[in-house]
Every structure is written in structure tokens, then in C-alpha cells.
Amino acid sequence: MSHLVIEQCGPGTTLQDIGREGWRRFGISTAGAMDRLSLAVANVLVGNPAGTAAIELTLAGGRLRAEGGSVLIAAAGPGVTLSVAGREIPEGQSVVLEDGAVAQVSPVRGGVYGYVAVAGGFDLEAEMGSLSAHVRSGVGGALLQPGARLAFAGGGAERPLAIRPLPVPEQGPIRVMAGPQQDWFTEGAMARLTATEWTVSQRSDRMGRFLEGAEVAPNEGSMVSDGVLPGSIQVPPAGQPIILMRDCQTTGGYPKPATVISADLDRLAQIPAGARLRLVQVDREEALAARAAAERVLSGLVAEPVAMTPDTSLLLRENLISGVWYPGED
């Protein structure tokens, strides 16, 4: 059996695919990749279906070694690159990791989450239809630690592939739809939600992004729990919004003035702690158009065999794309 051995990794390393659906009525979170587009890029680069499970890295990079066989691997995510035998592989390109060879994965220099996929995917048993680890409940597995050995099945592509150009994430404010509980907030609080330049708090993780910068407390009263999903913006009594992310619970008891649209969850996940963001309200039609556009980007990902010359390699390095989420205003 061939394995990818994690020789070194950061504390937030897990296996993630596009998550598990159908179990939320029993309190099972969907989990799944924080940035599905980057997961898809990593997978397409090794010839896998876009939603195949890959290693998700949080901020820190890592070191991986092939054992028992060679395998085509790829990294994706803002500013994430692989180095093999001292050679840095350009972004948007896969590389064969020979048996016994080591790949150094760079830190996630332009965001928060990076992905490493292997051709044919990992040969592990899914739990409830998914390999995604929900660390808090243990469903799907735990954090990956140095020393972890992940079996790979083989298959997928065998020769390096490249995606040119890499998709550029949408820019501008994070889009939200009002509701479900906008009537629990004053007009002033609703206005502050979209007028404030928010700072992403250090407390943010796979469950939620905590925002700082203003107070948007709900009206007094006791709300009975209802359903939540990734994107729900919940506001505890103190008035600091929390945007729920992929590992969020299935129900919650805090009023929710608005919900981030599904098309913007990937780039929201890549906004690091300390960075700023704005929210802007859109209607269902705009949200749907954004989602359709995001799906077109995802299904339009095509990797071509690499035929690199030194010149094109240089050109591509000049063109490195990093996750710009909110240009134009300081």
C-alpha cells in the first residue's frame, strides 16, 4: 500500500471534501472544505473530480513524503506552492512526487486555507458519506498530526497538469441577504451591519468568523432556537456578529439579521484574522446569479498537460495571484 506521510504540519490540518449532507436533522454538521474553489483547483490539477477529499492546511504549510509509490500531487489556495527537491512548482501546477521524495508546502501566504490533493484521492473509509473531519464531534476523523500516514489508491492523472489562468476570486464586499431575523434588529443596527468596516477577530476558526468594529445587538427578548447554516450571521446579546462557517452547528438560538450568500463563503473563509471586510446586502436574484457564476468557474476548471519552457515559467511567476478580497478602500 502506498502512503502520503505527513512529516510536518500546522495545528489546523484536516482532511476535507465538500462535506456531508442529509444528517443535519441529527445534529451532524456538514463540515467540508472552507474554500471549495481551491479544493477543486487542487483536485483538477491531479485529474480528480472537483470534490475529492484533500488535505486542508490552516495558515501553516507542511512537509509530505511519498512512501511505497510515486504519486501526482498538487497544492492550491492563495499563495500556496509546493517545492520538491528544492524546485518551487509554480502555482496552478501539479508535480510527481517520487517514492521517498519530500514535498515542502508553503504557508498560505495570501489567505487562510490551502489544499493538497493526490491523484486518485485517499483510500480511506468515508463516514456518513464524507471524508471531511468535523473535529469538534469527531465525525469523519480528527486533526491530522505529524506522523499521519494517508493511504492513496492510485489512479487519476500521472503526468503534471496546469490550470492557466487560475480563477481569480470575486472581489468587493461580502454579499449578504437579509434575514431570517432582521425584525429582531433596529433599523440602526441593520444599517451598521453593512456600513461598518469589520475586522476579522483572532478567535475565528472553521466554526465561525467573529467580527469586531461595531455593536449590532438584537432587541431584547428570548429567541427559541431554529436552524442555522454556513453563512448565517448570528448576533449574541453583546452585539458582536459571528458568521457561521462550514463546521457550524445545525441549530442556534441567537437572532440572525442576515446570511452570507453561498457564492461568497469561499472567499470569506480566506480573509485572515486582523483583515477588514465589508458586508453588502443583495437580493435573491443577485445571490442566484452569483452562485451560478461560481458554478461556471468551478465546472470550467480545465487542466492541461504541462509543457513548460523557462520563459513561460518566468511569465507565470510574474502572474502569481493572491487572494484580494477588498481592494480600493483603506
Binding site: E21, G22, W23, R24, R25, F26, G27, I28, E127, M128, R136, S137, G138, V139, V176, M177, A178, G179, P180, Q181, M223, V224, S225, D226, G227, V228, L229, G231, S232, Q249, T250, T251, G252, K256, T259, V260, I261, S262, A263, R284, A287, L288, R291, A292, E295
Partner: protein, 239 residues
């Protein structure tokens, strides 16, 4: 409580079909009936539903769902008085009250002005309804707590409470699942394991089930806990 529910948008991928901001058996029953009816309606694009105390969360694929049609179907189903009224599953669930298994029991009894035996009797008397499963895998919120047993949650939550704890928080009581942080008062534990991977079924309870708690002797704990760990449900279906 008999008017049309409100359809509250939760972004582009979900709606909350809201029957009212209350913990109420009749409201929860309307949620359950709609859940059953919607499951049988075969709506294209529907991903899954999550019944909660007062609303049915409906998750759907925005690209394959006709949103207006979905809302119409839901309002039509909610307006129908019949249907969804088939018998609920009813479970008898063994519970060890007090001692190391429910470290707040004596304090809770004193707070309620009841003797410990009377408190246990009052807690084990109702036929509870699983109003919602949430917070953690298999964590079952029960409706039907005797009001004299209510008590606000602890000011300082505990960082870890044992799996399968029976607890009270405000007007609610619950059967816990896995070990977790909690601000609720611990009055007992069941040897049953509501969420056990590898067992069929993985989850013992579903929203809408009825629960009868049956006090059991501590001396039976080891035997039942061992059976439960091997995959025996330990709970008994009585209806």
C-alpha cells in the same frame, strides 16, 4: 397558533418555515407534520430538512430549485390539517438519577422545594417529545418538562459533562450525546448511547419521537452500559 407559517429566507440555500417564537407542543407538532408531508412531496432540489422547536429548516440547492414553487408547496402543505398524524415512536429510556451520575440532583431538588424522590418522580412522569436534535450529534431536546423543575442555566458552564447526561436548562430538559461543555444542570445519566458510530441505527432518536424516562438502579449500570457499548440500543420501543 393555527395561522400560516412565515417563510424566512436564510440566504440563497435555505428557508426557515417559522410557526412562532415559542416552545410549545402544538407548534412543534406543526413543524413535525410539515416535515413529514414535505418529505413525501418529492420536491426537486430539496437537500434536507431540520425540524427545530418552532420552525422547519429547509435546505435546498438554489440552482435546481424553483424557489417560488417550493414556497407555494410548503404553504399548501402547512395549510392542510390532516396528514402527518401517524403514530409516533415511543421509547422507554433507563436513567440513573443522582450521585456521580447526576451531580446537581440534590441541589436541583432543593431549588424546586422538592424531596429528591419527589423530584425524580416529577422528572420521570411525563411523556416527553423530542422537539429538536441539535447542538451536537444526537443531542435531544425534550419538550414537556414540569414547570416546577425549571431552573435557569448555570452562570459558569462546565467545560466537560459526561456523554448521555440527562440535564435541565431553563424550561428545557435534554438527553445528551457525546461529552461536551454545558451550562445545564446534571440530574442523571442513561446507559443508552444516543449516537454510536458503526451501530445500525447510528442515532437512537429522531425529532418527533416520544420519550419515557424510567429510573433504574445504579447496580444495573455496568451491565447495561456494557451492552450499550457493544451496540445494543438498551432503550425499549414501547409504541
Amino acid at each position: 397558533m393555527t395561522g400560516a407559517p412565515r417563510i424566512l429566507p436564510c440566504g440563497d440555500c435555505a428557508i426557515s418555515v417559522d410557526f412562532g417564537n415559542v416552545i410549545d407542543v402544538d407548534v412543534n407538532d406543526r413543524v413535525r407534520r410539515l416535515d413529514v408531508a414535505l418529505a413525501g412531496a418529492g420536491v426537486p432540489g430539496l437537500v434536507e430538512t431540520v425540524p427545530t422547536y418552532r420552525a422547519l429548516m429547509v435546505h435546498f440547492n438554489p440552482l435546481t430549485t424553483d424557489y417560488e414553487a417550493l414556497c407555494r408547496i410548503i404553504l399548501d402543505l402547512a395549510a392542510q390539517t390532516g396528514g402527518g398524524g401517524e403514530a409516533r415512536r415511543r421509547w422507554r429510556v433507563p436513567v440513573v438519577y443522582g450521585g456521580d451520575f447526576g451531580i446537581d440532583l440534590e441541589d436541583m431538588a432543593a431549588f424546586s422545594g422538592l424531596s429528591v424522590p419527589d423530584f425524580i418522580e416529577a422528572h420521570a412522569a411525563p411523556v416527553y417529545t423530542v422537539m429538536m436534535i441539535g447542538f451536537l450529534p444526537g443531542f435531544s431536546y425534550l419538550g414537556g418538562l414540569d414547570p416546577q423543575l425549571q431552573r435557569p442555566r448555570r452562570d459558569v458552564p462546565r467545560l466537560k459533562v459526561p456523554a448521555s447526561s440527562i440535564s435541565i436548562g431553563g424550561a428545557q430538559t435534554a438527553i445528551g450525546s457525546i461529552e461536551c461543555p454545558s451550562g445545564w444542570h446534571l440530574i442523571g445519566r442513561t446507559p443508552a448511547i444516543p449516537f454510536l458510530r458503526g451501530r445500525d441505527p447510528v442515532f437512537l432518536f429522531d425529532a418527533g419521537d416520544e420519550i419515557c424516562l424510567r429510573p433504574m438502579a445504579i447496580s444495573d449500570w455496568d451491565r447495561l452500559a456494557a451492552r450499550a457499548a457493544e451496540g445494543d440500543a438498551v432503550v425499549e420501543r414501547i409504541a
